[in-house]
């Protein structure tokens, strides 16, 4: 069985656990819906158009929800040393990292779709731009979020600061994702031509690929018990 197949089995196991227990997913979904709800009240739409701030709010909600969720990626495996047993299986550390990142990514995509729908509805954004262009921007951005969250989520498990440590470590590293993601999404909302967006998307892909490779290479240093 090759490593990618093993990683895929870990992804399926994590997603099965996620949907059976549902705690993490439900709390993330509740967070994004309530955030959109509160933004609708906080924003004076007679002074600021919803479309002008939708991109920034979308990325911030995705960032906060994914960070809150990242702190609990390894929760189901903490009981009775399940994670230790996973480490004892003949699966390489990079494969475990890739499997867990892919499961985290699936959850983030669900949250992203919901964030997008709730914010555009609550902020009354009617001209939303091309869905394919939005997906092309959100895909590399969320891969970067998922890989960084999974990597540092494992680290924060052992810290007495717990989930407080996670944003301190991840937010500075995620500045490029938020910057290039939010500016690209804003341009998609404004229906700007693709060449104006493609440069930022290339940088988002560079971050995504870099964070996956670096995470896979260094994961054994944060996962070994």
């Amino acid at each position: 069985m090759n490593e990618l197949r093993r990683a895929w089995l870990i992804t399926l196991k994590d997603l099965r656990l996620e949907f059976r227990t549902g705690g993490r997913l439900l709390s993330m979904i509740a967070f994004v819906v309530l955030a959109g709800f509160l933004f609708a009240f906080a924003l004076d739409q007679t002074a600021v158009a919803g479309r002008d701030v939708a991109a920034a709010l979308t990325w911030l909600v995705i960032l906060f929800a994914s960070t809150a969720g990242a702190g609990r990626i390894f929760d189901p495996e903490e009981e009775e040393g399940a994670f230790r047993h996973l480490l004892l299986t003949p699966v390489s550390r990079p494969a475990i990292f890739l499997g867990k990142t892919a499961a985290n990514l699936a959850v983030i995509w669900l949250v992203t779709a919901l964030t997008f729908l709730s914010l555009t509805a609550f902020l009354d954004v009617r001209d939303q731009g091309s869905p394919a262009a939005h997906a092309a921007v959100l895909l590399p951005g969320t891969i970067g979020l998922a890989a960084t969250g999974t990597f540092f989520g494992r680290m924060s498990r052992h810290s007495s600061l717990g989930d407080t440590l996670l944003p301190v470590l991840t937010f500075p590293l995620l500045v490029p994702v938020i910057f290039f993601g939010a500016t690209s999404t804003a341009r998609v909302f404004l229906e700007r031509p693709w060449p104006e967006i493609s440069g930022s998307v290339r940088l988002l892909w560079a971050f995504a690929v870099g964070s996956v490779f670096i995470g896979a290479a260094l994961f054994r240093h944060v996962s070994d018990e």
């Binding site: 052992h158 810290s159 600061l161 440590l165 470590l169 500075p172 590293l173 500045v175 260094l218 944060v222």
Partner: protein, 233 residues
């Protein structure tokens, strides 16, 4: 701490402080005003050496942390901690003097310019380095995690260097480390190089002391934490 280490550290710190005092004299009385910015440009002789020392410290942390992850050698971790503290302190000097200069030169304290933003990210990463180190209950794991944070953070250094060329940036381009040689007038270059030497010597002296203290602390943890006194009573 060995006598040789103490003498080396003391010599480096003393020479560093003396050189920095000399730099202050040069900045106040010797070097001429820069034509376009006037007197405010003189903060350059503190800002640039602080930045250089920060990157030197970050480089040492990155190499020492990579060695620690590879060999788990306690000396490498002690060197990384000693240099990381230097990176935070000299980084803070750089981040304070930069906005003070920018307020006059750019009419604003801060711009979200790529180089400035990446440098701030680097500083926050090193703040995270100490938070990770201090908050992980198992000290061996804490050292390993901190080393990982340092290695990840150090990937920022080449980006900071090339950011001025890759992106539209308000930050001035390098005037000394250029393929076709420095473009600074000779008296300004002499002041800058003296300041670079002073900051580097001061950092290396503090690093030597801090490394020795860290090694001593690890060698005799019971004495440092006061447990010996409790055991005796």
């Amino acid at each position: 701490m060995s006598t040789r280490g103490r003498i080396t550290g003391l010599a480096l710190v003393t020479t560093g402080v003396a050189t920095i005092l000399l730099v202050h004299w040069m900045v106040a009385f010797w070097v001429p005003n820069e034509a376009s910015q006037g007197v405010v440009q003189r903060i350059f002789y503190i800002h640039v050496p602080a930045a250089w020392t920060t990157f030197l410290a970050v480089g040492i942390v990155a190499v020492a942390s990579a060695v620690y992850l590879w060999l788990e050698d306690e000396r490498a971790d002690a060197a990384a901690v000693a240099a990381a503290e230097g990176a935070l302190v000299f980084g803070a000097i750089m981040l304070i003097t930069g906005p003070l200069w920018a307020r006059v030169a750019w009419n604003t304290y801060w711009q979200w310019d790529p180089r400035l933003t990446l440098t701030l990210i680097l500083w926050f990463t090193y703040l995270g380095y100490f938070l990770v180190r201090g908050s992980v209950v198992d000290p061996r794991r804490g050292k390993r995690f901190a080393a990982v944070v340092a290695v990840v953070g150090s990937l920022n250094i080449p980006l900071i260097h090339v950011s001025v060329e890759w992106f539209r940036s308000i930050h001035p381009e390098p005037t000394v480390l250029k393929p076709d040689g420095p473009t600074l007038p000779s008296d300004m270059l002499a002041t800058l190089l003296t300041s670079l030497a002073g900051f580097t010597l001061l950092f290396l002296g503090l690093f030597t002391f801090r490394y020795a203290v860290e090694r001593l602390r690890r060698r005799r943890p019971a004495v440092v934490s006061g447990e010996t006194d409790e055991a005796l009573t």
